[in-house]
Amino acid sequence: MSWLLRGSLALLPLLFLAAMVAAPLTRLLWEGGSAFNPALLHDDYLQWRLLWSLLQALISCLLCQLIGLPLAWTLARYDFPGRGLLLRLLLLPFVMPTLVAGLGVLALFGPHGVAGINLQDTPWLLLYGNLFYNLPLLVRAGVDGLSQVPASRLLVARTLGATPWRTFWRVEWPVVRPWLASALCLIFLYCFAGFGLALLLGGQRYATVEVEIYSLVAYELNLADAGALALLALAVGALAAGGYALIERRLVKDSRPGPTLCQRPQGWPQWLQLAATLLLLALFAAAPLLAIVLRALQADAASWQALWDGEVLAAIGNTLQFSGAAVLLALALGLAHGIAAARWWWLRALSFLPFMVSPVMLAFGLLLLYPQYGASLWLLVAAYALLAYPFVAKAVAGALASLSPTLPAAARTLGATRWRAFWRVSLPLIRPALRRGLAFAAATAVGEFAVTLFLSRPEWTTLTTLIYQRLGRPGAANLEQALLLTCLLLAFALLAFLIIEWPEKNRAAD
């Protein structure tokens, strides 16, 4: 593809990113920098907020690493029925809205929780929520990393006299280390910049900087302090994102590492190890979802009937409309970005930008930059599309990069124009990836919470903001309503997951 064509395709997403990320963040930095008051840092309350934000992210990373690595090793090396399904299920948190996770944790360990232990107003609630989201990410990265070590290499180490333990340290650990490091950078970023979980689970004492910024903007209208905090939070986030980008580029991905070691467990200690692994995964990754379903099943018929009122239907309608518009926009942006980025690595790296910036910062920056559009539906839809389209772009760019270049070339020599070759050859071949990217995008838009809270108006209540409203109202009935609505969100996330993971008609041999 010519430089000119690629460049003009890249222009659309580049302009969009400039208007929706670069400009609002610059505005936010300027706001924070110009009003920066060092006295702010001596405030005990804010000191604790910053410290706790860092601390909970670091502790989450540490816990993920300690619990996740043995789990990853067991899943990578032991084969058992349903292993493939389980490995795919580890992707489920990516499509799970924060509200589902947050309410799931509350349903389990909150007041009147399924587990019978009330952890509200302790730090454990937030840490557990962080683990629910991020432990699967680390396990997945660990399994991927360990799959890069071929069985022959392990066998050589053993024949050279290394015990299994020494083999791990000297052969597997060096390979898997960068994979874990890149995952840990992301986990730190997600925990530090996460908003929804901290809002729902942190309570008064254990909320994070992001929640503080939100309440400064939304309730106290104190933009100066909010801007200064945002500046600090962005600086920390940028460090983690930079670390991730550095490590990610150096990851060695050998497409054909040879057969890996993955056997049925032999003897009861190994079966025990596997059982413990599955139990831990269930405890951290499945229990909150099960708790929601359990609570929903316990609800009486009256609560289900109460769902059928105008407010709920309007919220569902809004969610579908906004998400539909956002997904269409994401399709256009993602295709343009993905096609242009198939050969330009820097453009591909740019598509990670919306993942790296916290939604709260984005929404705050957008509000500062475009005050006149604060009540515009287009700004909300554009913000949804911004958060959703990188999934499409990533999928398209990846699929195109792995497409053999001789296929479109063959189509050209057979008389197809550039456009016809794309339409008849490249597009059908990237369609599965495109479908997966769109499902991710749809799940992101439907579950979006932080930006909606900032930019939405009362008459645009979506499913997520409605759940949050119901949670804020007193009474067990409202909590029950919130849980039932969350069940709807959960069902939608599962649907998106099914679309993503539905097996393609077999053409594996190509």
């Binding site: 053999s404 001789t406 296929l407 070339a409 063959a410 189509a411 050209r412 020599t413 057979l414 008389g415 197809a416 124009t417 550039r418 016809r420 008849r424 050859v425 059908p428 071949l429 053409r507 594996a508 041999a509 190509d510």
Partner: protein, 328 residues
């Protein structure tokens, strides 16, 4: 007729093709023979329009090809990896070009099935590409190239992924189809056997330059350099000459030479003897030994040379020993 003049191609600083000129007549097959990295596939990519050259001209039957986009050049190319479209079945692959050139779908499908039958895949039209064997994929690629009645056929190492038996059979089949087509064909290969079997003329490419072209017999009779001699398969190649098998004379009248190494072959023994200043390799056929004892390392063999049979070439610049100038 295909006429290539002074074609030059460079990637950044590296020169890939340097002033390549070739002619291929209608009905003729020219093999472009060279080691990997010599620029063979790049030349095909330029002809197909997938690569833009820095200089030179390409004319096909008087038409200037370089100004046309690939889809208007009316040529067909067979790729090394076959480049079958994995989302289409065999017949749809063959029909692809027909549909692009405006044939109605139903008719294109019929023509594709007929072409598949012509290459020996009569009832495989509905087969998905990944279920086809290597040879079958090859035939589908051939059918896809031929069905559009191209004015030029480009073959980019199309046999390199096949094992030897299959290759022989396909070479014969392709030769037959080429003969019936009456268009110029350009075969790129690094396999001299393939080139000499399929092509009427061979051009040898080294570092982006054509170093020799001619019929296989001409090239074997007078290789242009020591590099060419080695590349086309001579064993005893030295700086200024090569010893072809017919230059060796056996018999009691010849000087006795020590046998250095012996390797048994299907049709005799590969024997290395201490020649004049360098080891010589020669094949002793079972017939020549006439039931005598097999040669042994450490034994003796009576071998001489017929100097008039030696292959000589003009000394290449740069291979001349530097000190000769000072002595002169």
């Amino acid at each position: 007729m295909l006429q290539i003049d002074g074609l030059t191609l460079a990637f950044r600083q590296r020169r890939v093709l340097e002033a390549v000129s070739l002619q291929v007549a209608a009905g003729e097959t020219l093999a472009l023979l060279g080691p990997s990295g010599a620029g063979k596939s790049s030349l095909l990519a330029v002809l197909a329009g997938l690569q833009r050259p820095q200089g030179g001209s390409v004319r096909l039957n008087g038409r200037d090809l370089l100004t046309l986009p690939p889809e208007q050049r009316q040529l067909a190319m067979m790729f090394q990896d076959h480049a079958l479209f994995p989302h289409l079945d065999a017949a749809a692959n063959v029909a692809f070009g027909l549909i692009e050139r405006g044939t109605p779908r139903r008719e294109a499908r019929q023509q594709a099935e007929a072409m598949l039958a012509a290459v020996g895949l009569a009832d495989r039209g509905r087969a998905a590409c990944h279920t086809l064997s290597g040879g079958e994929r090859q035939r589908v690629a051939l059918a896809r190239a031929l069905v559009c009645r191209p004015q030029l056929l480009l073959l980019d190492e199309p046999f390199s992924s096949l094992d030897t038996d299959l290759k022989q059979q396909l070479l014969a089949d392709v030769a037959q189809h080429l003969a019936g087509l009456q268009v110029p064909a350009l075969l790129v290969t690094h396999d001299r056997h393939e080139a000499f079997t399929l092509a009427q003329r061979v051009a040898i490419l080294q570092h982006g330059r054509i170093v020799q072209q001619g019929t296989p017999a001409q090239i074997l009779a007078r290789p242009a350099s020591s590099w060419v001699a080695r590349f086309v398969g001579f064993h005893n190649v030295f700086e200024q000459y090569a010893i072809p098998p017919q230059a060796f004379v056996l018999g009691a009248a010849q000087p006795q030479r020590a046998i250095v190494a012996v390797a048994p072959q299907a049709d005799g023994w590969q024997v290395t003897v201490a020649g004049d200043g360098a080891p010589w390799q020669l094949l002793l056929s079972a017939r020549e030994l006439a039931g005598g004892p097999p040669p042994q390392p450490g034994g003796k063999l009576a071998v001489g040379l017929r100097p008039e049979e030696l292959l000589r070439w003009p000394l290449e610049a740069g291979t001349m020993p530097a000190h000769q100038d000072q002595q002169g």
